[in-house]
């Protein structure tokens, strides 16, 4: 049975848990600031190329984006309930729920990969490269799609990392027989995943909803 080890520089486990949790929150806040810089770029350029951004949104698959949003939210719900189950000492459902959240990450990446494939087929590539931009000469088109690939790509890397952490946590709970005292470590995996979800909650309207559709 796994029991968290009390490190020498902490008085008790409660203090150790709080320090670890605060450290993770500061890391999450720094992640938020990283994406905030990209959100700023998006809204800055959107204010300059409003008509093109409005039209460009219509070139993204709104249905697939919506399915991906639901997939991420289901994964988040599974991770939150997984932590909850572990706190009650229910190891097996917790492990399964974390595995389910990792599966949600894999499904999200598959759908996103398919979307990228469709864009490449249409001649839409990052940096304004591809035949699509010959037919759509306005300066806002390459900016929109470069931001799209950059921001969803960076988010996709976070999904891949988060999915890996969730899968490892599912394995760890099951293999190390983690009980309620170790739940706070599983909570960190879930917290990271929730942040990935929060970022997507804003990327989805920015690239799929705030415009006109074909």
């Amino acid at each position: 049975m796994y029991e968290p080890k009390l490190e020498f520089h902490f008085e008790d486990l409660a203090g150790q848990r709080h320090a670890a949790r605060l450290g993770l929150w500061i890391f999450l806040a720094s992640e938020l600031l990283l994406f905030a810089a990209l959100f700023t770029l998006y809204f800055g350029y959107r204010s300059q190329h409003l008509a093109i951004f409005h039209e460009a949104v219509g070139h993204n698959a709104r249905g697939l984006g919506t399915i991906n949003t639901a997939v991420l939210l289901l994964g988040s719900t599974a991770a939150a309930i997984g932590v909850n189950q572990l706190r009650r000492g229910r190891r097996r459902p917790a492990s399964l729920l974390f595995a389910g959240a990792a599966l949600a990450a894999a499904i999200f990446l598959c759908i996103k990969g398919y979307e990228y494939f469709e864009h490449f087929r249409e001649g839409i590539r990052p940096g304004g490269m591809g035949a699509f931009f010959d037919e759509h000469p306005g300066g806002g088109w390459p900016i929109f799609f470069t931001l799209y690939f950059g921001m969803t790509g960076l988010h996709g890397i976070h999904v891949a990392v988060g999915g890996g952490i969730l899968a490892w946590t599912a394995w760890w709970i099951s293999k190390r027989r983690v009980g309620s005292s170790g739940a706070y470590r599983a909570e960190f995996a879930a917290l990271y995943w929730h942040l990935v979800d929060v970022i997507w909650v804003f990327l989805w309207p920015m690239f799929y909803l705030m415009g006109s559709h074909r």
Binding site: P4, L13, R17, A29, T40, V201
Partner: protein, 122 residues
Amino acid sequence: MTPPEAGRRDGTASPSEDDEAAEPTLHLLLVGGAALALVLLSYLLTLLEPGRWSTPAALGIGTTKAVLILWFFMEVHGATTSIRVSLLAALLLVGLLIGLTVTDVGSRVPPPLLPPTQVEGR
């Protein structure tokens, strides 16, 4: 000397072993369901093509979902003051960054983010 495995260094039990009280599972399911309902609402609103309201509606619903996730799934409702302060500081900086940049870009003449024009003779 090996440190004790759990509890306090003096061997007494830590008073906060159960400081993370488990939320009822039903609550979390309800929050997840509410967030999914908001996704559906966002999607249906775009089908109605609300025109100039599409951006505030989409961002407003997105913010509601984010608050639900932060408050319930990330447990900000039970977080310590230090965690709440770090989150508030991050949100304040995000607001300042986006707000000041958009105000600057939107109010400058000529607009600063347009592609550079080709110079004659080059």
